[in-house]
């Protein structure tokens, strides 16, 4: 797809997402299920409060969350040259889950403390994965990082299991379980401000470096011959994407499948070049998560955990793509 055609389709996609965002403000269960007439905002104080203090920060956080998970998934899949990599694979998701569990059980249940603890342990998992990979004595850097990520993820996952086992079943376990299922039901403007610096840094750096991501998806010798600074560029991209993912996971809980499936859809629609597929993945991921969150707060009288919906829709889409469109996950030779 050449530039002009992409600009036109990308513009239309952006317009569609904008309409979705505006429409989502009025989707919910107040004053009655599914739709709030926009005129109500000028008449009903409660509706105004609801939109300004609950729906808007939640909507924007959902959009940022989808953008970051998709951008991170797209970047990691390309720099690890593996279409099955997803944002949590360096242990970040499980690390953040462990951090949240530690906070709920032993530190404090104040959302800010949970967020800080989840971010801290998410980043700790990333650093541990990296340090462990430098000690493995065989395989290339991709294999070493993947192996150490699997091991660190399993360790933190076991830790979460232990904490669930010892949690008070009446007070702590329900909160912990609901957090692990993922959701944006408690997001406030303060949460949004907490993740904003991480998210914006991630989005701006990935967007600016999207051409370099193409280079990093080549074999090391080819990428080097084309002027890539392999280690430096990979470290910058890993740092900004994974820390943004950790910060957002800290307020959303574990949200699966967005970072795996959206980059595939974006590459199928806009081609493999990250110049186009990464900005498109950000918009598609943001839109996908906003729609999933609309459904999460609207479908039933009680909140459906967002992580369940993204996993169900994501896995369904993945199966559809594999069967109907021949999604390519082979390592090509």
């Amino acid at each position: 797809m050449r530039k002009k055609e992409f600009s036109r389709i990308f513009g239309l996609l952006g317009l569609g997402i904008l309409i979705l965002l505006l429409g989502s403000v009025f989707i919910g269960r107040y004053p009655e299920p599914y739709w709030m007439p926009p005129g109500l905002l000028s008449k009903d104080q409660l509706a105004r409060q609801l939109v300004l203090n609950l729906r808007l920060p939640r909507l924007l956080t959902a959009f940022l969350l989808g953008m970051i998970l998709s951008a991170t998934g797209a970047v990691l899949q390309m720099i690890f040259r593996n279409p099955l990599v997803e944002p949590g694979f360096l242990g970040v998701s499980q690390g953040a889950a462990f951090g949240a569990a530690v906070s709920i059980l032993w530190l404090h249940r104040h959302p800010l403390v949970i967020e800080l603890s989840a971010t801290f342990f998410g980043l700790l998992a990333l650093i541990t994965s990296y340090l462990l990979s430098t000690r493995i004595r065989y395989g290339g850097w991709v294999l070493r990082l993947i192996l150490s990520g699997v091991a660190v993820s399993a360790l933190f996952s076991a830790g979460v299991g232990v904490l669930k086992y010892i949690a008070d079943p009446l007070t702590e376990l329900p909160e912990l379980t609901f957090w692990l299922l993922g959701g944006l039901y408690s997001v406030t403007w303060r949460d949004l401000l907490f993740v904003l610096p991480f998210a914006l840094t991630g989005i701006v750096v990935v967007y600016a470096m999207r051409w370099r991501v193409n280079l990093l998806s080549l074999n090391d010798d080819a990428a080097f011959s084309l002027g890539a600074s392999l280690t430096r560029e990979r470290v910058i991209l890993l740092l900004v994407t994974i820390s943004a993912t950790a910060a957002l996971t800290a307020i959303s809980g574990v949200i699966g499948w967005v970072g795996l499936i959206i980059p595939h859809i974006s590459r199928r629609l806009f081609g493999a070049s990250a110049e186009k597929s990464i900005p498109a993945a950000m918009l598609l991921g943001g839109g996908f998560t906003v729609i999933a969150d609309d459904l999460a707060r609207t479908l039933l009288a009680g909140e459906i955990p967002l992580g369940i919906l993204t996993s169900a829709i994501g896995a369904g889409l993945f199966i559809y793509l594999m069967i109907s469109m021949g999604i390519k996950v082979r390592r090509d030779g």
Binding site: M78, R81, N82, P83, A208, M209, W211, R212, N214, L215, S217, L218, N219, D220, D221, A222, F224, S225, L226, G227, A228, S229, R267, G271, A272, S273, E275, K328, R330, R331, D332, G333
Partner: protein, 259 residues
């Protein structure tokens, strides 16, 4: 001889614990010619190319480009001077041929810059020069091995480097595709590009090259023109099998001695 690339007393091993791969190796690459580096598998040919590229650093010795040390050039300068056609490149994503060749323009882009109209024009010319314009919109993962090798060469054509390193460019290709690749290489050389190709097929080397280097066990066994290097004695020694060099209608041909 006007040498554009030179290796001076190179010693190399991958790490302190690994065995030495190259020992006190010195080599001059003449400008504007096709140099073929021949040798059996595992003798250090790819390592040598990666050292010429700058990807691997020797622990002793000096690599010189146009008389200046590698270290005196920035990474960007080097990538505008030396291009690489790798031996094998796995491509896990469906880049179109055009998108893939456009990556060759990267050395000319600033860190956050995207390719512009001029880069697109140069890429289209590179595809045309390699005779694969018709494949432009096809996914790289869905073309044949020979076409893919032409795509790799197009990428270095788009890179517009004066020096071209090719790692086993005709390996795994049928005779028609070997012929296409080697003829394209000869045409590029006639336009002033210096090419260094590794191969373990002496006949492919004889077809294309005009300067020959024989490698054996991490060092240079012989270097010079065809008659100096491609002899039955040299080849039999390094390939450890009886080999004959025959002249047929003015062409030199290497055959295994079956007698």
């Amino acid at each position: 001889m006007d040498k554009i690339l030179a290796l001076e007393n190179i010693h190399f091993r991958y790490s302190q614990d690994d065995p030495v791969v190259l020992t006190d190796l010195s080599l001059d690459i003449p400008a504007g010619k096709i140099t073929a580096i021949l040798g059996p598998n595992g003798t250090g040919k790819t390592t040598l190319l990666h050292i010429l590229l700058g990807l691997l650093k020797p622990f002793e010795g000096e690599v010189k480009v146009s008389g200046k040390s590698h270290r005196e050039y920035s990474k960007r300068d080097l990538s505008q001077m030396i291009g690489l056609v790798p031996q094998f490149e796995s491509i896990p994503f469906n880049f179109s041929v055009f998108e893939y060749v456009l990556l060759g323009r990267s050395p000319y882009l600033k860190p956050f810059q995207l390719p512009g109209e001029e880069d697109v024009r140069i890429t289209d010319s590179a595809l045309e020069a390699a005779g694969i314009s018709h494949l432009s919109e096809k996914p790289v993962t869905e073309i044949s091995g020979g076409e893919r090798q032409l795509v790799h060469i197009s990428r270095v054509l788009a890179q517009q480097t004066r020096i071209l390193l090719l790692d086993e460019p005709t390996a795994h290709l049928d005779l028609e595709n070997q012929n296409r690749i080697l003829k394209l290489l000869k045409r590029m050389s006639s336009e002033g590009i210096t090419a260094v190709m590794t191969t373990h097929d002496p006949n492919a080397a004889i077809f294309a090259a005009n300067h020959f280097v024989l490698m054996n066990q991490g060092n240079i066994a012989a270097q010079g023109d065809l008659s100096q290097v491609i002899t039955a004695e040299n080849l039999s020694l390094i390939y450890r099998t009886p080999i004959r060099v025959e002249q047929t209608n003015g062409y030199t041909m290497v055959v295994m001695d079956n007698s």
